[in-house]
């Protein structure tokens, strides 16, 4: 016979106003195995907790049920209370009579009945609760940061400054990411490169950071505190140690391909450094376009290199490394505009995306910052900026707001006037969103000081007309359809998740939303953590973000990683699945449904009819298991049980409600 104590909380008036506390206490006292029932105004307070402790000791309680608010709120509080009185915390059960009862019901009599049923359920389960013990898992004190844009850079620097080793893996030949492509940054008009480059250099020189550029994470195994990653360092074909970055190789290289960094507005060579401030400032040979590799001829760069750094035989290097925490900062892409033919993007060279415009105004860009029309290299006089191209568009684009376009378009309008005082910017917008520090002021400056004409409305179609672009739109405030003869049209194309984000999510065992952005563990309270423990998110890979927001989130993610790495050991959650081998039939359905890869196959030997037989069964890795319970519902013979939520306990709860 168990000795169960039930403690009913009033939660001030939150519960007491809707639930008859005295009635519930009396009913609880009569439930099977309940030998003690009491109530108090605030069970979570010092006095309330003392009541529980005293009763555990005095009444020799071996199980405790607290009927109060959601376990999310105070389960840990009452676990500690029980532990302080010498009771294993997992012998405590919470009946949620606030969120599940008093807050959602009005009728006192009915709510009281429901509260009693919820307590009866908790009592039935508590009677079957067993002592559970957390185990200790050692932590590998090193972090992996995936993505070398401003988010990854910031996270890496913060973790490294805290004294932990960091490996920063970047897919392209240089770190810097999108921010390196930008000219100025809003709302201060700082030169993007000027504030980014020092950070890039700091990453390269930091004694705690190992930089892997032109590298990709191929595989991640393990779990929080003990990840094991496989990193492929793609062959650069250039010896990092020998190269001095003199530039002779790319001067001499005869192959030309479109530059990714310059948004394909100009050509680069097959051996190249993506941009002058690249870190490391060492070229790579793009084997897909290099004549040496495509046609087995050429070899000019090797001949020309004074340092003998060119090595065509270099091979990919595959590394296995262990990490305690992972920060994902893989950034974003721009929406493909194939479905938006009305803007003539791709059909007319003077219709650009904002990122292309950014390159054209950038002093390190294709026009040396002079901003010339791609069609005829002339300065544009009338530039039409179109907002929300694919953003807030559930039909052809993305339903969400891309968040940064309002601000960068205001910036572009300002930069246009600064380059050409005679030029006129027109901005078609649906709504202006400037909810950031100094953002609204910046936008107003674009209008009032820089004379940008904002038109609330959309553009129906851009008609290329000779060397002009006839823009047909509407100014909805005046109620007139308008036509503007433009020299250049700039489209604020929507931000989207990286096209391979779902693959990375699968590799890491984290989840994505319907738009393939990585999902955070809680939209408000855990915004920098992924659902999988030990993996943190920074920047636009989690949703559209500007630079200040990305940097803040990166520092937040870094802080979370530091908290994790600064522990020698982690306490495991004891509510994990276990396999009853005698019931397990070895169908391994549990392996297929486990989102965390926590179940594996193993072979056991047993005697049947006097013969030793080998048989396959499932086995749970307790460190990987997150206690989601998917395996238990897939298990037909009921061989897999989630500790703390066993089939037996849940059946007892169902019976307590139904019978």
């Amino acid at each position: 016979m168990r000795r169960i104590g039930v403690f009913i909380c009033w939660c001030g008036t939150n519960i007491a106003n809707t639930v008859n506390i005295e009635g519930v206490t009396e009913a609880a006292g009569k439930m099977p195995s309940v030998i003690y029932a009491d109530n108090y105004k605030y069970m979570c307070s010092e006095i309330g907790q003392s009541m529980i402790k005293e009763a555990i000791i005095k009444e020799k309680l071996d199980r405790v049920v607290v009927a109060a608010c959601s376990p999310r709120m105070h389960e840990l509080t009452f676990f500690k209370t029980a532990a302080a009185a010498g009771l294993n915390p997992y012998l405590v059960e919470i009946a949620n009579i606030r969120e599940h009862c008093s807050w959602v019901h009005k009728d006192k009599q009915e709510a009281t009945g429901k509260a009693i049923a919820l307590i009866r359920t908790a009592v039935a389960k508590a009677a079957r609760n067993k002592e559970l013990w957390a185990t200790q898992i050692p932590v590998e004190c090193r972090a992996l940061v995936i993505g070398g844009g401003i988010g990854g850079i910031q996270a890496a620097l913060d973790i490294a400054d805290a004294g932990f080793e960091v490996d920063l893996v970047e897919r392209t030949p240089s770190i810097g990411g999108r921010m390196a492509q930008l000219d100025k940054t809003f709302p201060t008009l700082d030169c993007s490169a000027c504030i980014l480059t020092p950070k890039m250099v700091e990453v390269a020189s930091h004694h705690n950071i190992t930089l892997y550029t032109f590298s990709e994470v191929e595989k991640v195994d393990g779990f929080v505190g003990n990840f094991e990653a496989t990193i492929r360092k793609k062959a650069r074909s250039i010896d990092l140690e020998k190269c001095t970055g003199c530039g002779i190789c790319w001067e001499k290289c005869p192959s030309r391909v479109k530059s990714e960094f310059d948004e394909a507005l100009v050509m680069r060579k097959a051996v190249y450094v993506p941009f002058p401030q690249a870190v490391p400032n060492v070229p790579v040979i793009d084997r897909a376009s290099c004549r040496r590799f495509t046609r087995e001829k050429c070899g000019i760069c090797r001949k020309a290199c004074p340092a003998g750094a060119v090595n065509y035989d270099q091979e990919d290097e595959v590394l296995q490394k262990k990490y305690g925490a992972i920060v994902v900062a893989t950034g974003f892409d721009i929406l493909d505009l194939d479905d938006f033919g009305e803007f003539s993007y791709g059909k007319h060279p003077d219709v650009l995306t904002s990122l292309e415009f950014e390159r054209l105004v950038n002093s390190s860009g294709p026009t040396g910052g002079r901003l010339l029309r791609p069609s005829d290299q002339s300065p544009p006089k009338n530039v039409v900026f179109i907002q929300c191209v694919g953003s807030r568009d559930k039909s052809r684009g993305k339903p969400y707001c891309s968040k940064i376009c309002c601000m960068y378009s205001a910036k572009h309008a300002i930069l246009l006037r600064e380059k050409y005082p005679e030029a006129q910017a027109y901005v078609f917008y649906i709504d202006i969103r400037t909810a950031g520090k100094d953002f609204e002021e910046f936008h107003r400056r674009a209008v009032e000081e820089y004379g940008a004409l904002y038109l609330k409305g959309s553009v129906g179609k851009v008609f290329p007309d000779g060397d002009k672009l006839l823009v047909k739109g509407v100014d909805s405030l005046s109620g007139h359809a308008v036509e503007i003869e433009a020299d250049m049209v700039v489209l604020a194309a929507a931000i989207k998740a990286k096209s391979d984000a779902p693959q990375l999510a699968r590799l890491l065992g984290i989840s994505t939303d319907t738009h393939s952005f990585f999902t955070e563990a809680h939209p408000k309270l855990r915004p920098v953590e992924a659902h999988t423990a030990g993996i943190f998110l920074a920047g636009a890979c989690q949703g559209p973000k500007d630079i200040p927001e990305t940097v803040s989130q990166a520092s937040g993610a870094a802080a979370k990683a530091i908290i994790l790495l600064s522990k020698d050991n982690l306490l495991s959650n004891p509510c994990v699945s276990e396999v009853n081998e005698s019931l397990c039939t070895g169908c391994l359905s549990c392996i297929k449904v486990c989102p965390y890869g926590a179940v594996a196959e193993k072979t056991i030997e047993e005697k049947i009819h006097g013969k030793a037989l080998k048989r396959r069964v499932a086995e749970v890795n307790e460190a990987l298991c997150q206690g989601c319970g998917s395996c238990t519902v897939s298990c037909r013979p009921g061989a897999v049980n989630l500790k703390g939520f066993t089939n037996e306990q849940i059946m007892a709860e169902v019976d307590a409600i139904c019978l």
């Binding site: 779902p502 994505t512 319907t514 005698s582 169908c587 297929k592 989102p595 013969k611 037909r636 013979p637």
Partner: protein
């Protein structure tokens, strides 16, 4: 051309006498015309009693769960049996290396009830099948009738008359001419909810909890069925209709996505509960929701209810 039943005896004899198999599971005739029982033969001399006739309906592979072989067990598989065998293979309940499979093409088996209903059973001694016809033997004389008229309903909708897995195929493949198998389910789906509930309640109220439906099922291959567990006790001992319903619905859920539609549960039921209809409703739903899937037909194809994909878009948790 040799009769299939002769070939069957030969291969059984061969595999036992060569030592390739230590046991052959086949069928042998019982005292009555409609009885063809499973036979477990370890002595090559005993293979003469093996038969293949229109009543060899039992799926022999289910016995593999009970027999723990040291050497191989040889057994005979019809098309439907092969699907069941494959499903047991997928569930990890049989060892492919430990079985020798002889495939038998089968265009249908005879339902004794139909013979009886046609008034042909009185004084009947033996039934043989020749081409498309059945020959009914009596003390005096014989009668003939088209075989298809006497087939089990489940055979008429069979889509896999030829085994999809075997080591050796006995006889020529037979053509497949299935009738629509979801007609009954579709009809039931259109009846009002209360009517459907009373339809099933009526059937389940007859259940005597013999668990034959479970025991015969190739998808029910657990070492210990949850309904046999003492703790937790999923099924109360008292004969309550609601509990019986719970058993049948749980059984259907447990075989969902794994049921090979062999129809054995319904055939074996001593009180005539149309259990296959319940299974087919699940099959139909799965086909509609996840695309066509035939359990047991293709081991490489992903099972729809046992696939977790991290690239499935999750619905974000909201606020």
């Amino acid at each position: 051309m040799k009769q299939l039943s002769e070939i069957l005896k030969e291969v059984a004899f061969g595999s036992l006498s060569s030592g390739e198999a230590e046991m052959v599971i086949g069928w042998q005739k019982g005292p009555f015309w409609w009885q063809s029982f499973p036979a477990f033969i370890t002595d090559p001399g005993g293979t003469g009693s093996l038969i293949w006739d229109p009543f060899s309906v039992s799926n022999l592979s289910k016995y593999l769960l009970k027999e723990v072989p040291e050497k191989k067990i040889a057994l005979f598989l019809k098309g439907c049996d092969a699907l069941g065998f494959n499903q047991m293979l997928r569930d990890g309940r049989v060892d492919r290396e430990k079985v020798l499979l002889f495939g038998i093409p089968c265009d249908g088996l005879v339902d004794p009830a139909r013979v009886e209903a046609a008034g042909l059973s009185k004084g009947l001694l033996q039934v043989k099948k020749e081409q498309e016809e059945l020959i009914f033997y009596y003390k005096k004389g014989q009668r003939k009738a088209p075989a298809r008229d006497f087939y089990y309903a489940k055979c008429l909708s069979c889509r896999y008359p030829n085994p999809v897995i075997y080591d050796q195929m006995l006889g020529e493949a037979v053509p497949c001419q299935p009738v629509e198998r979801f007609a009954d389910v579709s009809k039931l789906e259109t009846t009002p909810l209360e009517e459907r509930f009373s339809y099933w309640s009526r059937h389940f109220s007859r259940c005597i909890r013999c668990f034959a439906c479970r025991n015969v099922c190739p998808a029910c291959s657990c070492r210990e069925c949850i309904f046999d567990l003492a703790e937790p006790r999923w099924l109360g001992k008292a004969n309550e209709l609601s509990e019986t319903q719970f058993y049948h619905i749980t059984r259907a859920y447990h075989v969902a996505g794994r049921c090979v539609d062999c129809g054995e549960c319904a055939r074996i039921c001593p009180v005539g509960i149309p259990l296959a209809e319940l299974n087919r409703k699940f099959i139909k739903d799965i086909n509609e929701l996840y695309g066509e899937y035939d359990a047991g037909a293709d081991l490489d194809k992903e099972a729809p209810l046992l696939t977790f994909k991290t690239d499935d878009p999750d619905v974000s948790s909201g606020s």
